[in-house]
């Protein structure tokens, strides 16, 4: 029963938190650029407006894929709040990612096609890192379940600092921030227009956006696990991490997927492996 209540809280709070984070993000980004920026509630206005727009698609697959993306993202957040298995949560989240890609590929538009391919490259880059992070958690707690994390005496961060850094790569990719914002970017000034999102419009774009909020919450939740012992430090860790994300977003050029693959596989995986070896040894 408790689990069910937690799941419902997660499902409701997910988009609220995700939307607020997105709004804050835009505001802080504006400050970094010496601008005033939009209201904090802007993301909600955007999505509400999109929901009120005319429904327009290239074909029915897009409708299907947008919905499945949202549902999978929501389910993964639900599972997270239900203290589920990290790997399962991740795979459920991957359902969404795959459907987003497939929906983009259903349209005869080179932009969404290439965007979809790049999205796949991103999955290729972050998936191994995330799995290794979960393995790290398993090695520390003896389980892949989130519930085990709360029983720790010492924050995960103390044992897996390098894995946290590697997680940073995955976080940046998932949040679609520079230097990894090539499958689609927040500002439409990209060689691929809106990349993987080019053909989603109106209410379906809103679904994708809400799903993205869920994903943001999921990945922030993942970060939160790293300081599970103290709420204050957890908040500080999250704030610091996100602030760093915004800073990185604002001080780096967009790179290419080739660069990303090499970088994340060498550095991200490298750091993860070093940290893992340490955990295995210890």
């Amino acid at each position: 029963m408790d689990t069910l209540i937690l799941v419902i809280i997660g499902l409701v709070a997910g988009p609220v938190i995700g939307g607020l984070v997105a709004g804050l993000d835009r505001r802080v980004t504006a400050w970094f650029q010496s601008r005033q920026g939009p209201p904090i509630m802007q993301s909600f206005y955007d999505v509400a407006k999109l929901l009120g727009k005319e429904k327009m698609v290239v074909n029915q697959w897009q409708i299907l894929c947008a919905w499945v993306y949202l549902i999978a993202a929501a389910v993964s957040v639900g599972l997270f709040f239900a203290q589920g298995d990290l790997l399962v949560i991740f795979f459920v989240q991957a359902v969404g990612a795959v459907f987003l890609v497939m929906g983009a590929m259903s349209a005869k538009s080179p932009f969404s096609q290439v965007g979809a391919q790049r999205e796949l490259m991103q999955i290729l880059a972050y998936e191994p890192v995330l799995i290794l992070v979960f393995v790290g958690i398993y090695l520390v707690t003896g389980s892949f379940s989130i519930s085990a994390v709360w029983e720790l005496e010492q924050p995960l961060l103390a044992k897996m600092p390098l894995l946290y850094l590697a997680l940073g790569y995955a976080l940046t990719i998932k949040l679609r921030k520079s230097p990894f914002d090539f499958s689609t970017s927040h500002h439409g000034h990209q060689e691929l227009v809106k990349g993987v999102l080019t053909e989603y419009s109106g209410p379906y774009l809103a679904l994708v956006e809400i799903a993205h909020w869920y994903e943001t919450v999921l990945i922030l939740g993942l970060c939160a696990l790293f300081w599970s012992t103290n709420v204050f430090w957890m908040a500080a860790l999250l704030l610091g991490t996100y602030a760093l994300e915004i800073l990185v977003d604002n001080t780096m050029a967009r790179m290419t997927w080739r660069w990303m693959l090499k970088r994340v596989w060498l550095l991200g995986m490298g750091m993860s492996v070093v940290n893992l070896i340490w955990l295995y040894a210890g």
Binding site: T29, P110, V114, S178, F182, G188, A253, R254, T256
Partner: protein, 359 residues
């Protein structure tokens, strides 16, 4: 088989102007790039047949709204040469000041757009923020931010008061400081270099043979700057063409960055040497029969006007060759083999202005 054909333009967010490239890519490597033009073609050269030669100044300014001043200067100088009009020294120097202000704003604008081309939005914002001071100077001294309309045949229509000059000097000091603060980012930042160094390389020979112009040519190591012809007030100023040798996008952006500082310096020199005197010479009659070939240096490079007069107030032929027109063949040569993500960077690196290309 795994070829993707990408219609790059005419409406495309990284190309603020409508132009089209059909890109054939494999694994995001460009194999072939074919352009399509004509989305901005208006046919304004032909307007010379129905507008008189004074009115054509306003038309020529609108060949391109970014370096409008310099188009007007080039056109006016051509007509003045044809009609053998002596332009007052003060007017010549004022033309230099506004031309260099235009070059500054154009380069700052470009640096911003270039940053945007590799997804560095904050840097774009920063350059455009700095640029607004130049726009304010334009607006305060000429009455318009972009298309300033201060040229007339024989001179200029506006003047600078001593207070304005003092204010301008103060403003450009600030601009220079803020621009210099960005030097490290645009020239040395790791991610910026990763996106520009070695991208779109144009060798010195190719740049020359393909007829590149302006910073594109100078970035490949050819020291050619039409201002060295010494037209207008430039003969009295002290400067050297800015040259980089690596021929890649980094070199082109560095040339423009250094030219921005050079232009600010030229504004200072011109103000220091601003003589007293008339603003415009009296112009009587119509351009006589004859031909004139006039070249000036625009922010994007060498701009050529060919004018044929016939003794009436309408010109027989007005022909404009703009720098972007010259830079398109080199662009086509640079694209094959690059990554799709580098296409915007390479395209932007020639500082395309399609409006003036197609007129």
């Amino acid at each position: 088989m795994a070829t993707t054909v990408i219609p790059f333009g005419p409406q495309h967010p990284v190309l603020p102007e409508p132009v089209h490239l059909t890109l054939k890519v494999e694994d995001e490597i460009v194999k072939e790039a074919i352009p399509a033009l004509g989305y901005v073609h208006r046919g304004l050269e032909k307007l010379a047949e129905i507008r008189d030669y004074h009115q054509m100044i306003q038309v020529c300014e609108r060949v391109c709204g970014i370096c409008s001043m310099i188009h007007a200067v080039c056109y006016s100088q051509a007509i003045e040469e044809l009609m053998e009009v002596e332009v007052p020294k003060r007017a010549e120097m004022l033309r230099v000041i506004w031309s260099e202000l235009h070059r500054t704003h154009s380069h700052l604008l470009w640096l911003g757009l270039f940053a945007d081309a590799f997804g560095f939005e904050s840097l774009f914002m920063q350059f455009w923020k700095v640029r607004e001071r130049i726009m304010d100077i334009n607006e305060a001294t000429t009455g318009s931010r972009v298309i300033v309309s201060v040229n007339v045949i024989g001179g200029v229509r506006a003047d600078l008061s001593p207070e304005q000059i003092r204010w301008i000097l103060g403003e450009i000091d600030i601009v220079e400081k803020e621009v210099r603060a960005l030097q490290d980012t645009i020239m040395n930042d790791y991610t910026v270099k990763a996106r520009t160094v070695g991208v779109g390389v144009l060798s010195k020979e190719n740049a020359y043979l393909l007829g590149a112009a302006g910073p594109t040519l100078r970035g490949s190591g050819v020291a050619q700057d039409m201002r060295m012809l010494g037209y207008g007030g430039y003969s009295e100023l002290d400067f050297e063409p800015v040259v980089e040798t690596s021929g890649d996008c980094w070199a082109r952006s560095t040339v423009r960055f250094r030219e921005t500082l050079q232009s600010i310096d030229l504004v200072r020199q011109a103000i220091a040497k601003l003589p007293e005197g008339e603003l415009a010479a009296k112009v009587k009659g119509n351009p006589p029969e004859g031909e004139v070939y006039m070249r000036v240096e625009q922010p994007r490079g060498e701009c050529v006007y060919y004018i044929k007069g016939n003794g009436t107030k309408h010109l027989d032929r007005l022909r404009i060759r703009t720098p972007t027109f010259a830079n398109i063949p080199p662009l086509l040569a640079m694209l094959p083999g690059c990554e799709l993500a580098d296409v915007p960077v390479i395209v932007l690196a020639i500082d395309p202005c399609i409006s003036c290309t197609e007129r």
